[in-house]
């Protein structure tokens, strides 16, 4: 096919065209260009693994995209259908693999696509945080937040806020600590 001469079939489907949620249009025009914190210029860019539920939080993160709301390039999102799927093992795994932070997002309580999935997350999280504290993991590294499908701005703000806190905290020592244990033996 000829790369230079697009055909009709080349055009994206209608659904693909960038869309802006109605209530976001004004905000997008009026909002002063905000610079998301970048990891450039030598500052430490933390690596955050985000576990987001498909129906609210992932959609909220998508909305941040369609509304062109900038935020730090620190977060890498893994989609699950419901925050209740997030086995605490996933959080430990991410930390052991070198994540500087883990952000868990689900629908607001009462708004769960699966009625009550987020309540299971709500029950697991405090004990997980206690366990992490016992294991010397700083409070700011793991966070649970409720983000609805309409809260693109909130998702962006959360990522930026967490990024700033992790930057203040510095890189996670877990992965290197586990490696040096063996080296120093």
């Amino acid at each position: 096919m000829n790369e230079d001469r697009p055909t009709v079939a080349d055009l994206p489907t209608v659904a693909d065209l960038p869309t802006v949620a109605d209530d976001q249009t004004a905000a997008r025009v009026d909002r002063p260009a905000r610079r998301a914190p970048t990891g450039a210029a030598g500052s430490f860019q933390p690596r955050i693994v985000g576990f987001l539920c498909n129906w609210c939080s992932y959609a909220g993160a998508d909305l941040a995209g369609t509304s062109r709301t900038p935020y730090a390039a620190s977060v890498r999102v893994i989609r699950v259908m419901c925050s209740a799927r997030i086995d605490p093992t996933f959080v430990l795994k991410a930390l052991a693999e070198g994540a500087d932070g883990v952000l868990i997002c689900g629908c607001h309580p009462g708004d769960c696509h699966y009625s009550e999935g987020n309540y299971k997350t709500m029950r697991r999280y405090p004990l997980l945080k206690r366990m992490l504290a016992d294991l010397g993991i700083e409070d700011a590294r793991v966070r649970l937040e409720w983000v609805s499908a309409s809260e693109g701005q909130r998702f962006a703000d959360l990522v930026d806020d967490m990024t700033q806190r992790l930057r203040a905290l510095g890189p996670s020592r877990i992965k290197t600590a586990l490696a040096t244990d063996h080296a120093e033996r």
């Binding site: 080349d10 994206p12 450039a40 699966y114």
Partner: protein, 592 residues
């Protein structure tokens, strides 16, 4: 696992992705990943040539996995699933990396965005290697439908289905049909009689060979899944006058007041049309409802109109009538939403008052006049021409109603901080009509739990998609219609009811339904019967087999949320398409 042959397709999305993310760098990084046989970039992967490229590669280059790095999977996962299916690849061998909404559209720094895109692609490549071919299954579709609620929405849906020749069970909690509409006199904006709208429908429902109505009845339980529900309906004793009793009845016959055993109904679909309740005006103290006898609600005014006697509690015709909008709606303390029907209803009252009490002065005290429906703006214009005094008050700046002094020629005085003039205006009133808004019924949480659907923060039932699928719910086979989903007027309720019926007729026409291939499953060889999972499922999809001491997932009921999977301490429950291995691979991938 054999080394997979993965094709990686990086979409430029015109310039949407390419202007920030270096797509060629992403391709080069992908080429270096284990298992990647092909990696390429193209300007629109979702276009026909883009999809054809994937199809051709699968066939010619013998790919067995595909990663598309483009927009959100919520946008185009189905598109690309269809594409790989065309090449006879199992559709679940696809994984998407979201490098547009989650990357190029939100990150300005090209270097960082490209690094992130590479991380997301790496995660997708690692994950897709663990994907398994999944097949959806077909189950039979029972053509009967259960309709909850006998208001205008429920009646309409029932008739739509019954007229098509399919059995409908209509369950109404009250002892009569008609719902809230039966409490109304005329309807806005055309001033049609509500009675006329309902009478014909109720009559047809009661006599319809394919509708079995249950009055004063309640659904006790709903089990099963789309196409195959079993409902239990409690019909109170002494209701033998209802036509339900005339039909063949499984239970013992009505012994004149004796409680009958519940009816068990086999249905394939459910329409929830349980309606709304009116806002309790006494919750707002400023308006004196319950204390000032001539402050009444809109429904109390409807009753006056229907009885043909518009008068104050003292038995006098009112000289001055004030209509107060947004009672309980559009406020910080009560409901933030607009109840949608009150503005036009208020205008209708102005008309009714003018014709019933000629010479009476009507003031209409509103926040904003919402006249969005067909014919509504005309209706508003006509109303303003018949000498109604319109006063605009501010949100949360409530007018204050007080008793007039003996010397005044009116019963009450209303102080309004009028927005358009910017003045504090006092108006006389003998009768004040509070336009009470709609709110979710007190039993809505119970209904939601019963049929397995969700509610929003205001208690309204949540649709599958607010714009594209406003009829279905997240529980397949359960539909919503009318004001149980959100405030709406009669045409919208009727439209939603007919749409719900049409959706069901479509399913019935196909005869069988596809059950999603993504669900949880329990490895009974690994299950210890600890029963941690049993209570966790909101869909009752997990059954415990006491004789074998094992739990089992009824796959057709499972919605694949994964709550039980995360909780299973034996690691015996697998979430198809969201397995631990797949998610671990993603974790390692994004962090590598």
């Amino acid at each position: 696992m054999d080394q997979p042959r993965i094709g990686v397709y990086v979409c430029a999305c015109g310039t949407n992705i390419a202007k920030v993310v270096d797509c060629d760098a992403v391709v080069r990084a992908a080429e270096g990943l284990p298992g990647v046989a092909v990696a390429t970039t193209y300007k629109y992967m979702c276009s026909t040539p883009g999809q054809e490229m994937i199809v051709a590669d699968i066939e010619e280059k013998k790919l067995d996995r595909v990663v598309v790095a483009s927009c959100s999977p919520r946008m185009h996962e189905l598109t690309f699933r269809k594409a790989v299916k065309k090449a006879s690849m199992n559709q679940y061998y696809l994984q998407m990396a979201n490098i547009r909404e989650h990357c190029s559209w939100v990150h300005g720094d090209g270097v960082e965005a490209t690094q992130k895109a590479i991380g997301l692609v790496r995660a997708a490549v690692k994950r897709v290697a663990f994907h398994e071919p999944l097949e959806s299954r077909m189950v039979a579709m029972c053509p009967n439908t259960l309709v909850l609620g006998g208001g205008i929405a429920g009646l309409t849906a029932a008739l739509e289905l019954a007229d098509a020749g399919y059995q409908v069970y209509l369950v109404e909690k009250a002892d009569h049909l008609g719902g809230n509409l039966a409490r109304v006199d005329l309807t806005a904006p055309h001033l049609d009689s509500a009675r006329d709208l309902l009478r014909e429908r109720i009559h047809r429902v009661m006599g319809h060979p394919h509708v079995e109505p249950f009055l004063g009845a309640e659904v006790q339980s709903l089990e099963g899944y789309v196409g195959n529900f079993t409902a239990t309906v409690a019909v109170p004793g002494g209701n033998g006058a209802g036509p339900a009793a005339a039909e063949g009845d499984d239970g013992p016959t009505d012994g004149g007041g004796a409680t009958r055993s519940p009816r068990t109904l086999e249905v394939g679909s459910v329409i929830v049309a349980t309606g709304y309740r009116e806002f309790d005006a006494s919750r707002i103290t400023h308006f004196g409802y319950g204390k000032l006898p001539n402050v009444i609600t809109s429904f109390e005014f409807e009753r006056m109109v229907r009885e043909g006697r518009i008068e104050t509690v003292e038995g006098r015709q009112p000289q001055y009538v004030a209509i107060l909008h947004c009672v309980g709606s559009r406020s910080q303390e009560f409901h933030a939403y607009c109840s949608r029907v009150c503005c036009m209803t208020a205008l209708k009252y102005a008309h009714e008052l003018k014709s019933a009490v000629p010479g009476c002065y009507v003031s209409d005290v509103y926040i904003d006049m919402h006249a969005f429906g067909k014919g509504c703006e005309d209706f508003y214009r006509r109303s303003s021409e018949v000498k109604t005094l319109f006063l605009m008050y501010g949100k949360n700046d409530y007018p204050v109603i007080r008793k007039a002094e003996p010397g005044d020629d009116c019963g009450m005085l209303i102080e309004v901080s009028e927005q358009l003039s910017g003045e504090l205006i006092e108006i006389p009133a003998d009768l004040v009509i509070l336009m009470v808004g709609m709110e979710a019924r007190e039993d809505s949480a119970e209904v939601a739990r019963l049929v397995g659907i969700s509610q929003d923060k205001d208690g309204w039932f949540i649709e599958s998609h607010p714009k594209l699928d406003p009829v279905a719910t997240t529980t397949e086979g359960v539909f919503i219609a009318g004001t149980c989903a959100a405030p709406k007027d009669i045409p919208d309720s009727v439209a939603q009811a007919r749409a719900a019926a049409a959706r069901i007729l479509g399913k019935i026409a196909r005869g069988s339904i596809e059950v999603d291939a993504v669900f949880a499953e329990i490895d009974e060889e690994a299950c210890s019967g600890c029963r941690i999972c049993n209570e966790l499922c909101p869909y009752s999809a997990i059954e415990y087999k006491a004789d074998e001491k094992r739990s089992r997932v009824i796959s057709a009921l499972c919605k694949a949320c994964g709550a039980c999977v995360a909780a299973c301490p034996s690691g015996a429950i697998r979430a198809r398409h969201f397995t631990d291995e797949q998610i671990f691979a993603e974790i390692v991938g994004v962090l590598a």
